[in-house]
């Protein structure tokens, strides 16, 4: 890569690598211009998302089922939906399950993604291309399709997983049921989600790593630092904004993960793999109790906001430190975790 130091001497490493330190330069003119620029975004968000959220809040206080939907009637019931949800043990079980599931997934995604990102940086050109293409292919596969394929691979009667286990000489895999308990169902879901999410982290980390000049590693190595030290004292600090925002996004996406869990085993067996989004769907859309579903989603959103408030503060604080908004930028993402 060509580094033209003459032309851009003051240029810090790119967007992924911590953002530029803004000099307190001449204040650019402001006034009504910024408002004009954000107006379209604000209007669009308010009109589509804001309106939907308000209506969602309204029907969470209503008895709102098929009949109310079809006859277009309104029946206020105050806090009944919330009371019903909060008194349901299933809600609390799902809440705990959702957080544990999310924590395990996000840790695995971040750790494996980081390792693969570092690996990409070490590989030769050809092998890097092979691995990148594999990652991209996994990433591009529509979630509904990958879920179908995973449920085949782990099918009781026709699954490749059982076939492999039999051929490796393990007994008891003649008709092993991989979806026989909530834990093993969620394990398969974890495999599926980690498989689908790691490419995002790995490829973007790799993209960021390419912006760190090789001289820094050389210098560190000459000082006798091992790989572990290099990671923690060089890579991690530079990539801190990247890790911050990526883990933020992954937390949100895994928390919202729905298709992967629902389509694998419908939240079963016996509702043992039900997370909050799955529960909101089953109780809301499935049972045509849209009011109850809305109440669950409002509660979920509030819980998520509280849980993430610390992240909000972290990200906003980071921005203040940097003087200007920092960010990681990077490549794309699948829709929904």
């Amino acid at each position: 890569m060509t580094v033209d130091i003459e032309e851009a001497p003051s240029r810090p490493p790119g967007p992924l690598a911590g953002g530029p330190r803004a000099r307190r330069g001449r204040r650019l003119p402001t006034g009504w211009v910024p408002y004009l620029l954000i107006a379209p975004a604000v209007v669009a968000l308010l009109a589509v998302l804001g309106y939907a959220l308000v209506r969602n809040l309204l029907i969470s206080f209503q008895e709102f089922g098929r009949r109310q939907l079809i006859s277009r009637t309104t029946e206020w019931t105050g806090l009944d939906n919330y009371r019903e949800v909060l008194e349901n043990d299933r809600f609390w079980d799902s809440l705990v399950r959702t957080f544990v599931f999310m924590a395990v997934n996000v840790v695995l995604i971040m750790v494996i993604g980081t390792l693969i990102g570092l690996l990409l940086n070490q590989l030769g050109r050809a092998m890097r291309l092979v691995l990148s293409i594999s990652l991209v292919a996994a990433w591009a596969m529509p979630v509904t399709v990958s879920t179908t394929v995973f449920s085949w691979l782990f099918d009781t009667q026709f699954g490749v997983a059982n076939w492999v286990m039999r051929h490796l000489g393990f007994s008891g895999y003649e008709q092993h049921n991989w979806f026989g308990s909530g834990l093993s169902t969620l394990t398969i879901a974890t495999l599926l989600i980690v498989w689908g999410s790691v490419p995002f982290v790995a490829l973007n980390l790799y993209a960021g790593l390419t912006t760190i000049g090789g001289e820094i590693y050389e210098a560190a190595r000459m000082d006798g630092a091992n790989a572990w030290r290099i990671f923690w004292s060089i890579v991690a600090p530079i990539m801190r904004p990247f890790f911050l925002i990526t883990s933020f996004l992954e937390i949100i996406w895994v928390f919202k993960a729905f298709v992967q869990i629902y389509a694998l085993n419908g939240g079963g067996p016996d509702r043992e793999s039900e997370t909050l989004p799955v529960m909101a769907y089953i109780e809301g859309m499935g049972q045509n109790q849209y009011g109850t579903g809305a109440a669950i989603s409002v509660l979920t959103l509030v819980i998520l906001l509280v849980a993430m408030s610390f992240y909000f503060r972290l990200i906003l604080r980071q921005e203040r430190e940097e003087g200007l908004p920092t960010q990681t930028a990077t490549a794309p993402v699948r829709s929904g975790a």
């Binding site: 089922g65 098929r66 009949r67 939907l69 079809i70 006859s71 277009r72 099918d155 009781t156 009667q157 026709f158 008709q175 049921n177 979806f179 026989g180 419908g266 939240g267 079963g268 067996p269 016996d270 509702r271 089953i282 859309m285 499935g286 049972q287 045509n288 109790q289």
Partner: protein, 420 residues
């Protein structure tokens, strides 16, 4: 829930052709024009020849175009619910018979009182009425029979049974004398279980005053489940799947060595087609599910579909006219004929004359002992995944305490069935 109740014969080719004969590109959501109506039929419910002939005749008589929009099973509940809330999206629609009452109760279906005096098959009418008001018309019925591989049964020296006891004897013979799986029965075929419970005089749920209660944890429920367990012990199937995953007709049976299974007409046709595609030849025989004694056949779930008119239809008059024509004696008879007798007719003045030895012949024998699940507005909620009856069956088959499993399912059924 999916109601995979479809005519027996020639099913596979219908989809595309059916869609082709309707839509002219103007779409159905236009808000009710006066010169066309929109009809929603489920994928595969009607032979395309019948649909196109009917619509040609209708268009000639009334000068109104009929747009048939074929609906997929995936997400159909949400589509029907939302469509019924829109003006003019759909005029006439097909609704599964266990779902009809739930929609009738929402105010989304038009009162069809003017059709009340036609000679409908009495046991099909229950699924179309709420408090004596008719909200849908029966269209067709279908029920399950036992499909068996004649050559395997002959090899084993097994005879077609007329009682449950003989049935079990036959399965034992197959188990002893052949390598085949005597019967393929997934753990969650809950309508088969429902038949066994009905044989004992029980039901999935019973009425208690104004509300309903789950009734699995009862002597009838237990006896029904005991017989199901006995049958299921002859099967290699896991206990946590239903007949659709994997699809027993096209995915399990053609893989070979299944001596018998319980299925619907379209499933038998699908299995035959799949076996032939592999270069084999299906040698199926059919018999109705045996009862406890030779005097009575086993109860079977009477599945099927009704036709209804949306309260918000864009062109109600023409919708009624189309419905009248489609369910008239003439066209109902043609419908049955087009299906080669493979459906239970909706009218008493229509006759099905299936050829001997066919699926249809076995099927119509049990039509009189068809049962329907409790027809309450909330029944559809019970059938929604995760279905408590299915979960109960898996637990019971896996050796959980019967009362505990049945009790849990009953309380979930009670919650759901009393919702609208």
């Amino acid at each position: 829930m999916r109601h995979k109740l479809v005519a027996a014969v020639g099913a596979a080719a219908m989809t595309v052709a059916l869609a082709a004969c309707g839509d002219d590109g103007s779409g159905g959501g236009g808000g009710g024009s006066s010169d066309s109506i929109t009809v929603w039929l489920m994928d595969g419910s009607a032979p395309d020849s019948w649909v196109s002939e009917l619509n040609t005749a209708f268009e000639e008589k009334y000068g109104v175009t009929v747009n048939v929009e074929t609906q997929q099973w995936d997400g159909i509940q949400d589509r029907i619910t939302t469509a019924l809330s829109e003006d003019g999206t759909v005029d006439v629609l097909e609704i599964g018979n266990t779902q009809t009452v739930g929609y009738a109760n929402t105010g989304g279906l038009a009162d069809l009182g003017e059709f009340a005096d036609e000679p409908w098959s009495e046991n099909m009418l229950d699924s179309a009425r709420v408090d004596g008001t008719l909200y849908a018309l029966p269209w067709y019925g279908a029920n399950r029979v036992v499909v068996y591989d004649k050559s395997i049964w002959a090899d084993a020296g097994a005879e077609v049974p007329t009682t449950r006891e003989e049935w079990i004897d036959a399965l034992e013979k197959i188990d002893e004398n052949t390598d085949a799986e005597p019967i393929y029965l997934p753990g969650q075929s809950y309508y088969v279980l429902g038949g066994f419970i009905a044989d004992e005089g029980g039901s999935f749920a019973v009425q208690d005053g104004d509300s309903w209660e789950g009734a699995l944890d009862t002597p009838a429920g237990q006896a029904g489940m005991d017989f199901y367990r006995q049958l299921q012990s002859f099967s290699n199937s896991p206990t946590d799947n239903d007949e659709a995953s994997p699809q027993q007709s096209t995915e399990v049976v053609p893989a070979g060595d299944v001596a018998s299974w319980i299925g619907l007409g379209w499933e038998a046709a699908g299995a035959t087609a799949a076996i032939e595609e592999q270069g084999g030849e299906a040698d199926f025989g059919y018999f109705p599910i045996p009862g406890k004694t030779a005097d009575e056949l086993g109860h079977v779930f009477l599945g099927g579909s009704n036709l209804a008119v949306s309260e918000r239809a864009g062109n109600r008059e023409m919708a009624m006219n189309w419905l009248r024509m489609a369910t008239s004696q003439e066209w109902a008879q043609k419908y049955v004929d087009a299906n080669e007798g493979g459906v239970v007719p909706n009218r008493t003045d229509v006759t099905a004359e299936p050829a001997p030895g066919t699926f249809a012949e076995a099927m119509v024998q049990s039509a009189d002992v068809g049962f329907l699940p409790p027809l309450t507005p909330g029944w559809a909620n019970v059938e929604t995944e995760p279905n408590p009856i299915k979960e109960f069956m898996t637990r019971a088959l896996d050796g959980d305490d019967f009362s505990a499993a049945a009790g849990d399912a009953d309380s979930e059924i009670t919650t759901r069935i009393n919702r609208e």
